[in-house]
Amino acid sequence: MSATVYREPHRLPAGILALAVHGVFFALLYLGFSWNKSASLPATMSVELWQSLPEVTVAPPPARIEEVAPQPPQEKLLQEQVVKPDIAIPEKKQVVAKPAVIKPAKMKPAAKPVEVVKPEPVAPPPVEQKIAEPKPDPRIAAQQAAAMAERARQEEQAAAKGKVVDEYMGKIQAKIRRNIVEPPDVVKKDIHAVFRVTLLPGGGVLKAELKKSSGNALYDTAVERAILKSDPLPLPPDAALFNLFRELNLSFKPTE
């Protein structure tokens, strides 16, 4: 008997067959399995987001009115606190000079909120001055056109701002909703618990008071606990928007 190392016969055909098996396997994987190439997922994503928004979308219109009329002093105060005033004043003039061009182009809500919002409180007075100064004789048509342009501009700004506000309202609600541990015996599903949440500038929860009980004390406390638990609530990076978030009326209902 020879002691040489035994070599199996049929080495080559076996190797070819082995490779063929893998070729078939990968061909099946590649062709037979319908890999998801079209995007059907984003649709479900947006559904998830919008679920919480209908209650919030009511908020933007009052927000727009509030900003135009009563809040300029407050916001100026805020800006003086946040932004250094000597830099802010020249900036304002620059931004006012070409506001309508920039705004529609920049639709990213989170990235450029500062530029979008800043001219807002300052804008109305200079434009009114413009209207008043160069045309003392009341040309109504020009004035109307200017007013129209102004309104359109404001609407654009408000839309951009509203988008940011909506986004963060949704985020806040989603964060709290995630933290709700629902009591097991919530039988009625169509109940609402409305909370008035007072926020600190950093997003901290100062106070959460029950405004309208859902009728189920366990569910009320569960929501309250969830609000306190999700303590740093997400706020937009723009400090000027905080006024809209200082006091929130949030409504919660049990999931189906």
Binding site: M1, Y6, E8, P9, H10, R11, P13, A14, G15, L17, A18, L19, V21, H22, F25, L29, Y30, F33, W35, N36, K37, S38, A39, S40, L41, P42, T44, M45, E48, L49, K171, A174, K175, P234
Partner: protein, 225 residues
């Protein structure tokens, strides 16, 4: 093809993390090797069974041992099976011991059996080679694949922690690419286990045949004058 959700096979593999890719590469290598051994053993065992049957046929129809020995060890072009080698080893040893003077009959039979047993064990070792590899592929590669999957899913979830609003769309690609590793592990393991069981059974039957043959051949030799 959409940029956002491209879940094609190539994309899944090329975008997996390095460790998962390593695991997939290892599994692919192991899978190719195990399939190679599967086919090698398949051919080898098939040939062995065929040769054994042929030799048994020849052995029971031809009582002339010298002719049989020429048939079994002659350097003709045909291959020799394990049983033929056992027969040849036993016969050579028997003839050598017979030629020596003063060796009694039981010692002759003892030596012949030892020679046949040695050849039998060598042949069994040859037949069983690579079977251990198939066994370990069958038992280990699912775990290797699972390891790749767990690692990939861990990465997918860690990436998820940075996203505020978690949706299925964030996790799904990561999990899909991680699961490819498990699929490959199973693809390597299932045939290996099946082949191992099948071949172990076949070799067991062959070994029984060899053993009973060597017993019978001992009897035939004992009857020799």
């Amino acid at each position: 093809m959409d940029v956002t959700q491209d879940l094609s096979f190539v994309h899944l593999i090329s975008h997996a993390s390095v460790l998962v890719q390593l695991v997939m590469g290892l599994l692919l290598l192991v899978s190719v090797l195990s399939w190679w051994y599967i086919f090698l053993k398949m051919f080898a065992i098939r040939d062995e069974v065929k040769l054994t049957e042929e030799f048994e046929e020849a052995f029971w129809h031809n009582q002339n041992l010298n002719e049989l020995y020429k048939y079994a060890s002659g350097n003709s072009t045909r291959e020799h099976g394990a049983m033929e080698r056992i027969f040849a080893a036993g016969f050579v040893e028997f003839v050598k011991l017979k030629k020596q003077q003063g060796v009694d009959a039981s010692a002759v039979m003892e030596g012949t059996r030892r020679a046949m047993r040695a050849t039998y064990q060598r042949e069994m070792d040859r037949l069983e080679s690579h079977l251990a590899f198939l066994a370990s592929v069958g038992s280990v590669s699912p775990y290797v694949g699972l390891f790749g999957t767990v690692w990939g899913i861990m990465n997918a979830f860690r990436g998820l922690a940075n996203v505020g609003q978690a949706t299925l769309a964030h996790v799904a690609p990561g999990i899909a690419e991680a699961l490819v590793a498990t699929a490959m592990g199973l693809f390597a393991a299932i045939p290996a286990v099946l082949a191992y069981n099948r071949y172990a059974h076949d070799i067991n039957r062959l070994s029984t045949r060899f053993e009973s043959f060597s017993e019978e051949f001992s009897n035939v030799l004992q009857r020799q004058p």
